[in-house]
Symmetry: D5
Subunit: 116 residues, 10 copies
């Protein structure tokens, strides 16, 4: 996988815990079984530690899944890992809300908490 | 009862707890009292342990109730037991949201937690 | 096709045009391509002439599609023809609102007007 | 049938056509087939001629169906006739929005226009 | 009745027909039968001729009904007449959407068109 | 009060706690103050112990309030007591959502928990 | 302030804790700054001890604020105090949901718990 | 542009005019200005003449825009032309409902009517 | 007023009438009476003749009202005139949906049709 | 930054904890990256200690961001700090709900609790 880089900027209020929440309705990737496109809304919220994620790099990162073959359950884990690596947040919650496939709608949720 | 088999695939992030949620709006079975068809939306969410449920087999499993005579309260328990047997999850929550019968709408909810 | 019979009763206000509208959320049949079940909400409204459709026979008629193999576009034409034959109404409008298949949601609408 | 009387008061702006619309969510009567209670929301709008319907008598009139055995399709015609007789309006539109019975929801609509 | 005055200002695009629509959710007056307060949302839209209604005077005009005893059906006719007198519009549509009284919700609608 | 009997059937999964939830939109009784009809939606959810409530008897029980004179606050307590007596559940939550009276909407909620 | 009296009646199930919830959409008072009318929906829920609040007196009490000059923040405290004094409840939660003023919407919430 | 082929099947009720409506929420293409992906919901309804569009080929046709560079305004015209060429319908209405770009949401609508 | 320029590009399907609809939720200007900011959602739809409006210039044009003092009723007429001058469309409909001021919500609508 | 001053008035019920919640839908500032305007709805709720915030000064304070260049994440921290400094509340929760930028919607939440 050749995904976009996630850039960051300094959080100026280190020590004050805030939640930053993004809704990204334009996720698309390729289903490894059928080679057909998949679509999802990705929602991600986090508590920054010392760095915030820069919005434009996040958009390009999400766009970079367009030609990637990947399962629903794994997409969410990979975004979570890349996000944590990029900005070392205190907490993250992520949700992938996928379109109906085979009469079934799927939502996948994962979370992360920095150990003290 | 001759229900469809539930297939699984390996969960690649064993140890990371995620919730996977399915909404299946096309459940239908036969009411044992009246022999008339019943209809429901089934919602099921689970935390995988080492195996995930494969989506197409889940669809066929749900379809396989079409000619089965069964009560609302028992449907939910049976799906829960078959699901647990198939993929040994850490936790499951299931809900059957049935159409109005006799002026009354019924929702049945059950849950399961793997003992440590 | 072996569909249920549509019974009628006398409309006591012949000459006064009223609209009678039914919503039937429990239509299911079999797709001739895939042999998988199809689901739809059927909406039908009509202006009675001298006979009204009896509600219970309408429910049994809709139920009788359960094992029938038929296309979306034809279901609606067949219900329309059977309905007109059963009660000779002045006007009918019918709509089949089908579940998503192949990422596409389909609605089919037909209508009938008794020539003077 | 022993229904309540509909009282009226003088419309002070005769010649100016206005629409007056009532929503009455507490209609109940008895089904002649099953002897079970039926429930509906009744919506009625009219253009007064020289008399308006008094609100309290309308409420009592609707309440007086509580022990009456009557079909959906006829309720609407009877309310329409009683209303026209009581206040001689220029136009009336009436709708009965009945609860689900036998998996089917029914709405009945009728209208009246005073001939010139 | 001692109602507030409706002020106007010049419409700078005379000859271009536009619709101006106001929603005023804070109408209250006194019911002449019961002496209890009544409440309504008033919606008014008009096509100005040479004058537009000034917004603050409209608010004060609506407020000035607070201690007035008046029927639902007449409120709407009086606002319509005062509005037409104040700004000589090409067209007006007005609607009073009143709170439930005696289990019945009432909406009253009137309109005006300047004769050529 | 001469209310309908609540029948039960055996719960086949004793020891597995499930929630069964009913929505009954057709409750009507008589107000003891005014002798006018009252209307409510009753929502009841419970965890069965060894018996489940049979749906048709529940519908007839709710219907049997039609000519009973009773206050909002007491209706809910009486249904709760009759329900507990009938099926000895582990937990019950009940809610009566009544129509507007005197400009005020009322909801009453009660609950029960079987002591160990 | 000369507010209406709150009457009560005996709660017949003393010892069983129930929640009774009222929604009163017709609160209006006068802003002490501007002398303009204010409007709000008041929501109040309580657990009765030995007395319940009588509905008609509650309506008249709310109506009695019509000519009172009072701030948003204080209205809620005064209703709370009067309510507690009138029926000595176990718990009360109250919310005033006020219309937009100065482009800002305000909601005020208070609560009370009887000490053991 | 190398778009998918649209297949058809015979309409069995030629002469009866029905509307067939599709909602396709998974359109994506490339913006020619920015090279960034665009997203839209495409809605298309038509009256068949002698041929209906086959659903699976329609899905593949929509998928085939994934790597095409094209403007919003032109997408709709091209789908309309291809659709008319494929099945020679009596009437078509099409709508492209595009995601926000530059703070502005865009919807494009076109229609076609077969000349007699 | 020093407003942004509206750029255009060639419409490639001249003769085919399509509707292009924009929703622009970020309009703000200054009220000439109070010097306070006003806010609105502007909705504009048009049928292009030979030129389409370029989206980015439209965004900058809307942004350029930020420091302009102007009345609700005139804003809509000015945008309409500038739009017609810029791209000579066949038809335009425009709507300004303004935030509540003085307890009143205002919507202003205008339209244009090119004479043949 | 030259922001408006936040005025206060005495809370007359010191010791009774109430929540006061404001929704302010007219926040706009300037993005430091692009110099384009940003828009948000700000929601703020607090428990007053001895002083309440005066509504008109809060409106002017929010308006005073109109020409300020500031990031989403920092706006929320600055409003929180100014609010705490102005009225020394017991608790505050604040949320900035920003418009879509770069296909991504952002919400930022922060909170404050006075240490005992």
């Amino acid at each position: 996988m050749n995904l976009g880089a996630l850039d960051t900027f300094a959080y100026e209020f280190v020590g004050r815990e805030i939640w930053i929440e993004f809704e990204m309705p334009e996720f698309t990737a390729i289903c490894p079984f059928s080679d057909f496109p998949d679509f999802a809304v990705i929602r991600l919220k986090y508590v920054p530690n010392e760095r915030c994620i820069e919005l434009k790099s996040l958009k390009l990162y999400i766009n970079s899944f367009r030609d990637v073959k990947i399962f629903h359950e794994h997409v969410i884990n990979i975004i979570l890992e890349d996000f944590v690596k990029a900005c070392d947040p205190l907490r993250v919650e992520i949700e992938g809300d996928f379109h109906v496939r085979g009469n079934i709608k799927t939502v996948v949720r994962a979370s992360y908490s920095k150990s003290a």
